[in-house]
């Protein structure tokens, strides 16, 4: 009996003496890591960045029926919508987006959170990660944060630049002037250039031929673009030159129809498809096989088609048509595959969504040179692109006419790619002149400058009193 007695006493003392805190701590479930465990190995941490790229593969801000390409294209003088198209597409087409349109704001900030979570997680990694992978992933996350914010401010104007995951801060942020946001983007991109490798890598840093992760050159490409948008011509020229001169990594692809192929040498960053049924959502969206509907809402605008120069090979290679009831619909066909043929489902994707490509860098440098009055240099860069399109060298020979020529070239080289036209109109101040003609044509009534910015979601303004709505949407 005394044995039992002492056993009980010992058990009792031991148990009550154990500190409570230890007893109520649990590790996150093995099936879902937390911020505390996701950054304990190279592979897991890399998966967080991979997740960011994966979010660009289905219909999202990056492509397809929720893409910036579609909405910016509809808003500008590029795409055409129909009465049969869904309400949000028609609203964008008529430059009348409503404050219930949340897609870009929601998705971009969600991805910005992921990038910040990765940055914080890697910085506070309790161990288990190699320095080289830490460096690479930090670079990728900084690049992504810059990339995402770039689209936020170009769609919405002044907007919060977020660099924390703290929801108490993020829920009450104010809008930051665009110029300041650009400075922060530049800082992130410079960091990314330093941290990232000069070749394409696998999630954990091994070299690969596949261009599915942003690297130093991707950061450089965006930096060149951002400098251009900022009017820092010399910087823009310098960054673009780095890319153009690095011919071992990137070269213009002479055959127009090969540019958007997987691992194309012109591509600076591509997104890998996640399914065997579809390669790009833009291909699925634009390649027309049925008359217009809410599911397939847009084609190239007749005015856009009419503006092609005669003999432009891009019109032949990048525009296709579909006839229904004698009506001919012209659609962009940079991506050829709508759905993968049954025979091809087992094969690797032949074409991939291209986020950055070298042709843009030539046009950036041309514009930067023109702005710096280097007309010869500008014309030379411009003619590289024109030559590939089967066009004769430009006739523009002074700064003004060259800038016009470059703008024209951008319109036909970069159409239905990431809203370039819409952003170009805005940054060059041409938007009012162009859209005051075009918006009435689209059935959108009178144009006003405030329509250059998309509305911030109404729910956002309601939940964060520090956020002000863009003019014209209250």
């Amino acid at each position: 009996m005394t044995f039992h007695k002492s056993l009980l006493l010992i058990a009792f003392t031991v148990i009550t003496a154990v500190s409570c805190t230890k007893l109520v701590e649990v590790d996150p479930p093995i099936t879902s890591p937390s911020s505390g465990t996701a950054y304990t190995s190279d592979a897991l941490a890399a998966s967080v960045l991979t997740g960011l790229y994966m979010k660009m593969a289905p219909n999202s801000y990056a492509q397809g029926n929720q893409g910036i390409t579609l909405f910016a294209g509809l808003s500008a003088d590029e795409l055409q919508a129909y009465n049969q198209s869904g309400a949000s597409f028609l609203n964008a087409y008529r430059n009348q987006l409503s404050t219930t349109f949340t897609t870009f704001w929601q998705q971009l900030y969600n991805s910005i959170y992921n990038a910040n979570a990765a940055l914080e997680g890697i910085a506070h990694s309790p161990g288990g990660m190699s320095d080289s992978v830490k460096k690479q992933l930090t670079g990728e996350a900084k690049f992504m944060r810059a990339f995402l914010h770039y689209y936020v401010i170009n769609l919405y104007g002044d907007a919060p630049f977020l660099d924390t995951t703290d929801y108490l801060i993020n829920a009450t942020v104010k809008r930051t002037p665009k110029e300041q946001v650009y400075e922060l983007i530049v800082a992130d991109l410079k960091d990314a250039q330093n941290l990232l490798k000069g070749f394409y890598v696998t999630p954990t840093g091994a070299s690969t031929t596949e261009r599915f992760r942003p690297n130093k050159w991707t950061a450089t490409a965006l930096l060149a673009r951002v400098y251009l948008y900022q009017g820092k011509w010399a910087n823009a020229e310098a960054e673009a030159t780095k890319l153009i001169e690095n011919t071992t990594m990137h070269k213009l692809v002479p055959v127009l129809n090969d540019i958007f192929q997987r691992n194309s040498t012109e591509a600076i960053w591509q997104i890998q498809p996640l399914t065997k049924q579809n390669y790009t959502m833009d291909g699925l969206l634009f390649v027309r096989k049925s008359p217009p509907s809410a599911g397939f809402p847009a084609d190239l605008h007749p005015e856009f088609l009419a503006d092609f120069e005669t003999g432009d090979q891009r019109k032949l290679n990048w525009v296709d048509s579909f006839t229904f009831n004698t009506v001919k619909y012209f659609y962009p066909s940079k991506y050829k595959v709508k759905t993968v043929a049954a025979a091809d489902t087992g094969k690797p994707a032949s074409e991939c969504l291209t986020v950055f490509r070298l042709a843009e860098q030539y046009l950036i440098r041309a514009e930067a040179r023109a702005q710096q009055n280097n007309t010869a240099g500008a014309a030379a860069d411009l003619d590289v692109i024109r030559a590939r399109a089967g066009l004769t060298p430009t006739t523009a020979n002074d700064q003004v006419s060259l800038l016009d020529a470059i703008m024209h070239e951008r319109r036909f080289e970069l159409f239905t790619e990431w809203g370039h036209r819409w952003f170009d109109l805005k940054r060059t101040g041409r938007i009012d002149a162009v859209m005051s003609v075009f918006t009435p044509l689209k059935g959108g009534g009178e144009w006003s400058s405030s329509k250059a910015l998309f509305p911030i979601p109404a729910s956002e303004i309601q939940l964060n009193p520090n956020l002000a709505q863009n003019p014209g949407y209250n």
Partner: protein
């Protein structure tokens, strides 16, 4: 009135001293030999159980006595006689003071002869009452004109059968007004008492007693505890208490009430019987779920289930954690949230009592888990005594009590043709019901075919129990099987084993107890609730073609019998076990540790073979496999100290809890089976696909304490406190304190009350207030988890660069904490005429705040919401009344009734910034119940258009297409009041029990249940209509109708119908009174039983849901949208060997 005062029993009487003659050989037996042999075998088996456990308990007592004594003290002789016969002697030591010594030598002499010898020439005589030999003074011979003796002073002391002093007892002298009360030590003094005075003693808790003074100045008496239901044990958290002394609100149901019901779930057995406890059966499918609410809903978005505690170990009422779900959940009714109740995996026959703990005083010691009350389940324990073997078997049938009146083919086609006429249209190629594809003459009563079968019930239990004073044991084996009313061979079968072993040291200081229940259930149910299939169109095609294959009638309908080919199976193994070790270190100081372990394996599969898929559907044959495991272990060391300081009794408890739960969910889908026969195995699949995996851990840690102070059984104060920590909440609010104070005043123990209200036998006022918490949220909700999938990404077939992505899924909230529930209660309990009429009432007010909800966030945070604690305030108030009366109580006939009644109200008192959350502001309204339904205000049918019209909120013209803002009518769909009425009548060997349950509530009107308006035909989601929609329907312009016109048009008419579905017309009175249970049993007379060599035999019939009185126009007011609770009739026999 039993007169035993001033007497004492000889010590250490065996609990059950059986009478003489018990071992008489039977004569004139009519029992067949086989049965005798069987009985013998059983007895041998029984004997085997006894080996090593029992001493000479089985030996009987004889009425013959053998004695050999010389000059023995009479007490010694009494003792010996008692030992041999079991007869008790009742006397005071004073009475035998002058007894002469005895010399006896008898052998096997009759008891009476021996007694006569003993009492020869003694100053006293004896009388035998029952089995007690009462010793009395010899009547004094009349003495002429003797001077009265001078008065004497008396000192006395009253104790109870445990030798404890009885304070507050009234001692009065018969025929005088003299009356005194005993002090704390049970002592009293009377001055100047006649020598032959008679003292009358009374006390609420003890039987009245009368003492003859007989000139003795010193009187010590033992009072016998009055047996009252108030003194039955109630199980409370970490202990027991009597109803009399409980300062909290606890309702106890004993196994005798549970066993009268042929049900498979303990919840069903207590439905309607407990004030304040609302149990809603979700479906009549065997094993289906229940909604269980103690005093309403406290939490707006999280769990409102009570905490279940089985023998001290918490038992989760959740089958699987998080949203993993079950592959087979559709088997348990149409509502996807309906999952089987884990309490099905307990055997009702293993339960000794169920205690429902409601107020803060009773529940606060369970801290974070007690906001919604506690249901304590105590399993059966072994008792010392002869080994007993009890068998109980019943069998019976169940059926759907009432079918709906649905349209026959003629009525249905009338409706359809009228719809075409109203629309000016003619049937098209897809209108198979009217275009001749199906023919117009076929009629099938689908209700009869789908749910008109008979469910069979079989239940068998065998218990062996017994033990010595040192070791007691109980083993029960059980089997329960229920089939369904569906076509096809479906069943829910459970086998179970329960055991209990108690041991204690000779000095009773060391005790150990081991209890366990293991059940194994095999559940094979239909893949659907055939309630739906019973609404097939009346002229729908035959189910089988001429070859006996499923008929799809050229893909024109969904053949409901396809569900018979789908396998939906579950295997559940459930272990609940605990052990308790205690040691009494000093008198009153007990160290105790309980250890608990529960384990549940829940495997399920749903196999959809090709033959069950409509040929033109793209569905791929597949099997979903689920493997779910749950484990809980618990250690609870405790110190209990009981002591008295002068008038006050203290009962102190200090303890700690360490608990850990682990759940694992694995779901896998298999495809590409070469043969349908292999579909229940993963091996037969050519492709296995991971579907869902989850692994959750939950840790819980607490210290707790309780101080119970009892002053003279008049004033009781009960303080409880708990400090809880759980892993479910953020590090900043992981720990919290809970506590309660309860107080009771037993005013019937006050002298002035006793003097003024003689009829009042019991009176108690209770008050309690305290805080409890609700932690019923998913694990890890505070943590910022990442997952390997994301809702924005469709299933990935080509991983990105060959690897998985990882996606942040929610925000981190380090402050996430529990919901807090503050409970206040006042109660009054009154017993009259020795508690023959007993009434108790309580008023409660529970306020829940810190509501754990998903608060909307701006997207800049990365997410649209975050789980936070919002200071929204939900109040539940209510009244509970319980009346119990012993209407008749005599030897042969007794009749006990009890009625309980609960009225409760739920109200959302505060919700900060509700208007800022548009979706929530449509759901909740401040000042209304949290279940409030905002519905359209329907005016009726527009005589012009023939469509339903609704009032607009802005006062503009009524419309058939109202918008969300027009939902202006707020409906309270909570039960308004409910209760039950029970009667137990026994006459000689018969006992009749019947129980009515009543609920006042609103329910869904079946006319507006459906997704399509009357007149529309849908090939694959068929819906036949109640006949009543034919009456008073709109047919022509100007009709003042109740039912809108039949039309096959979608658009406005369908919008109008769907709006009607969300209107005030869609809710009708669904109140009911139900004869929930009736039980009639007959105990075979002892003489017959003896002849059969048995202990007792009882035969019984039991009925469930035999009668429902309601105005509700659907199938059943309780389940409404699912198969109703079945009407069950069973018969059985219980035998004690």
């Amino acid at each position: 009135m039993r007169l035993i005062a001033n007497f004492r029993f000889l010590p250490e009487l065996p609990e059950k001293a059986t009478g003489p003659g018990k071992r008489k050989p039977c004569s004139g037996s009519v029992i067949p030999k086989q049965m005798l042999r069987m009985t013998k075998i059983m007895k041998i088996t029984t004997a085997l159980f006894l080996v090593g456990c029992l001493q000479s308990m089985a030996a009987g007592y004889a009425q013959k006595v053998s004695l050999s004594e010389k000059d023995a003290r009479i007490e010694k002789v009494f003792k010996e006689i008692r030992r041999q016969t079991g007869y008790q002697f009742l006397y005071t030591s004073k009475m035998v003071e002058h007894a002469r010594k005895l010399t006896l030598d008898v052998n096997n002499a009759p008891l009476n002869d021996v007694l006569d010898k003993c009492f020869e020439e003694q100053p006293f005589t004896y009388e035998i009452k029952d089995k007690t030999i009462v010793i009395k003074s010899k009547p004094q011979p009349q003495q002429p004109a003797k001077q009265p003796d001078p008065p004497i002073d008396i000192k006395g002391r009253l104790v109870n059968d445990r030798g404890e002093p009885i304070p507050g007892a009234s001692v009065s002298i018969k025929g005088t007004l003299t009356r005194v009360l005993t002090n704390v030590n049970g002592e009293f003094t009377l001055v100047g008492v006649e020598e032959n005075a008679i003292l009358q003693i009374s006390h609420v808790q003890y039987e009245d007693a009368v003492i003859n003074v007989n000139g003795s100045p010193l009187i010590n008496a033992t009072l016998v505890t009055r047996v009252s239901s108030l003194d039955e044990t109630q199980v409370i958290a970490y202990g027991t208490v009597t109803k009399r002394l409980n300062s909290g609100n606890v309702y106890t149901i004993k196994s005798k009430d549970l066993s009268k019901q042929p049900v498979n779930n303990p919840l069903l057995a207590i439905q309607g019987r407990v004030p304040g406890l609302m149990i809603i059966q979700q479906t009549g499918v065997p094993g289906g779920g229940y909604e269980v609410l103690i005093r309403g809903r406290n939490s707006m978005t999280n769990g409102n289930s009570p905490l279940y505690v089985i023998d001290g170990v918490p038992y989760s009422d959740q089958l699987v954690p998080n949203s993993g779900g079950l592959a087979t959940s559709s088997s348990f009714g149409n509502n996807s949230s309906t999952t089987p109740s884990p309490l099905n995996f307990l055997n009702l026959a293993d339960i000794e009592s169920i205690d429902v703990l409601k107020d803060a005083d009773a529940t606060a010691i369970y801290g974070t888990r007690a906001a919604n009350g506690v249901i304590m389940i105590t399993t059966r324990k072994g008792k010392a005594g002869k080994t007993s073997v009890d068998l109980n078997v019943y069998t019976g049938v169940g059926e759907v009590p009432k079918m709906m009146k649905l349209m026959n083919t003629e009525q249905y086609l009338e409706m359809r043709n009228e719809a075409f006429a109203n629309d000016g249209a003619t049937p098209g190629t897809l209108d198979h019901d009217v275009n001749g594809d199906w023919g117009n003459n076929r009629y099938t009563d689908w209700q009869k075919l789908m749910i008109g079968g008979k469910a069979n019930y079989t239940d068998a239990q065998a218990t062996v129990s017994g033990g010595s004073t040192n070791v007691q044991y109980l083993i029960n084996g059980g089997y329960h099987k229920e089939t369904t009313v569906y076509p096809g061979d479906f069943h829910n079968t459970r086998g179970s084993m329960h055991f209990n072993l108690n041991a204690n040291s000779n000095n009773n200081r060391f005790k150990i107890q081991l209890t366990g229940s293991y059940t194994s259930s095999n559940i094979h149910l239909a893949a659907t609730d055939f309630f739906h299939e019973s609404r097939l169109y009346p002229n729908a095609p035959d189910l089988y073609d001429m070859n006996g294959k499923l008929n799809w009638e050229n893909n024109t309908f969904s053949n409901p019998f396809a569900n018979l080919l789908v396998a939906s199976k579950q295997q559940v193994r459930n272990l609940v076990s605990n052990s308790k070790v205690s040691y009494e270190l000093l008198k009153g100081l007990v160290l105790e540790t309980s250890l608990g372990y529960t384990e549940q394996h829940f495997n399920d599969l749903k196999a959809i073979p090709k033959s069950s898929i409509r040929p033109n559907l793209p569905t791929i044959p597949n099997t979903a496999f689920g493997f779910n495991d749950k484990r809980t272990w618990l250690i609870e060391p405790q110190v209990k100290y009981r002591f008295s300081v002068s008038d006050a009794k203290f009962d102190i408890l200090v303890g700690a809890t360490i608990q850990e739960n682990e759940s694992i969910v694995n779901r896998i889908n298999g495809q590409g089976y070469t043969d349908e026969k292999l579909m229940e195995s993963m091996a037969g699949a050519s492709a296995l696909e991971p579907a869902y995996f989850f692994n959750a851990k939950y840790k819980y840690n607490a210290v707790f304490g309780r101080i119970n102070y009892n002053w003279q059984e008049k004033y009781i104060v009960n303080l409880t406190a708990r400090r809880d920590g759980t892993s479910r909440f953020g590090p900043e609010s992981r720990f919290n304190n809970f506590g309660a104070v309860g107080a009771a005043w037993l005013f019937s123990n006050e002298e002035f009350v006793r003097n003024s209200f003689a009829a009042l036998s019991f009176g108690k006022i209770r008050l309690s207030y305290g805080t409890t918490g609700n932690d019923q949220i998913d694990d890890y909700r505070f943590l910022d988890l990442y997952s390997f999938d994301d809702p924005s990404i469709p299933p990935v077939t080509v991983p990105y660069q060959g690897t998985n992505g990882l996606f942040p899924r929610n925000l981190y909230n380090s402050k996430l904490a529990w919901e807090v529930n503050k409970k206040a209660e006042a109660g009054l309990e009154l017993g009259f005429l020795q508690d023959r009429f007993f009434v108790s009432g309580s008023y409660f007010r529970n306020r829940s705040t810190n509501q754990l909800i998903s608060a909307p966030l701006p997207y800049t945070t990365g997410f649209s919401n975050i789980p936070i604690n919002l200071p929204a305030l939900v109040e539940n108030t209510g009244w509970e009344v319980l009346v119990r009366t012993f209407n008749v109580k005599n030897k042969d006939f007794s009749w006990v009734s009890s009625i309980n009644f609960t009225k409760q109200d739920n109200k959302l008192l505060e919700y900060p910034d509700l208007e800022k959350a548009p979706t929530l502001s449509r759901l909740y309204k401040v000042g209304y119940p949290i279940t409030v339904k905002s519905v359209y205000d329907m005016i009726g049918v527009d005589p012009g258009t023939g469509l339903y019209i609704f009032r607009k909120a802005d006062g503009t013209a009524p419309t058939s297409q109202p918008s969300v803002d027009d939902r202006t009518v707020l409906l309270n769909t909570d039960p308004r009041y409910f209760g039950g009425f029970q009667n137990t009548i026994s006459y000689k060997n018969f006992e009749l029990d019947f129980f009515f349950q009543f609920v006042k509530q609103l329910g869904r009107n079946p006319i507006y249940f459906n997704n399509l308006a009357p007149g529309i035909f849908s090939r694959f989601s068929p819906i036949n209509w109640p006949v009543e929609i034919l009456e008073n329907r709109w047919q022509k312009d100007g009709d003042n109708a109740k039912i809108q016109k039949f039309t096959r048009n979608t658009g406005v008419p369908l919008d109008a119908y769907l709006a009607a579905q969300s209107s005030n017309y869609s809710w009708v009175d669904a109140s009911y009174i139900r004869l929930k249970n009736i039980s009639l049993s007959y105990r075979l007379p002892e003489t017959w039983v003896k002849q059969m060599h048995l202990q007792n035999v009882r035969i019984y019939i039991q009925g469930q849901n035999l009668l429902t009185i309601t105005d509700y126009n659907g199938m059943d007011p309780e389940t409404q949208l699912s198969i109703p609770p079945l009407r069950v009739l069973t018969g059985g026999i219980a035998v004690g060997l």
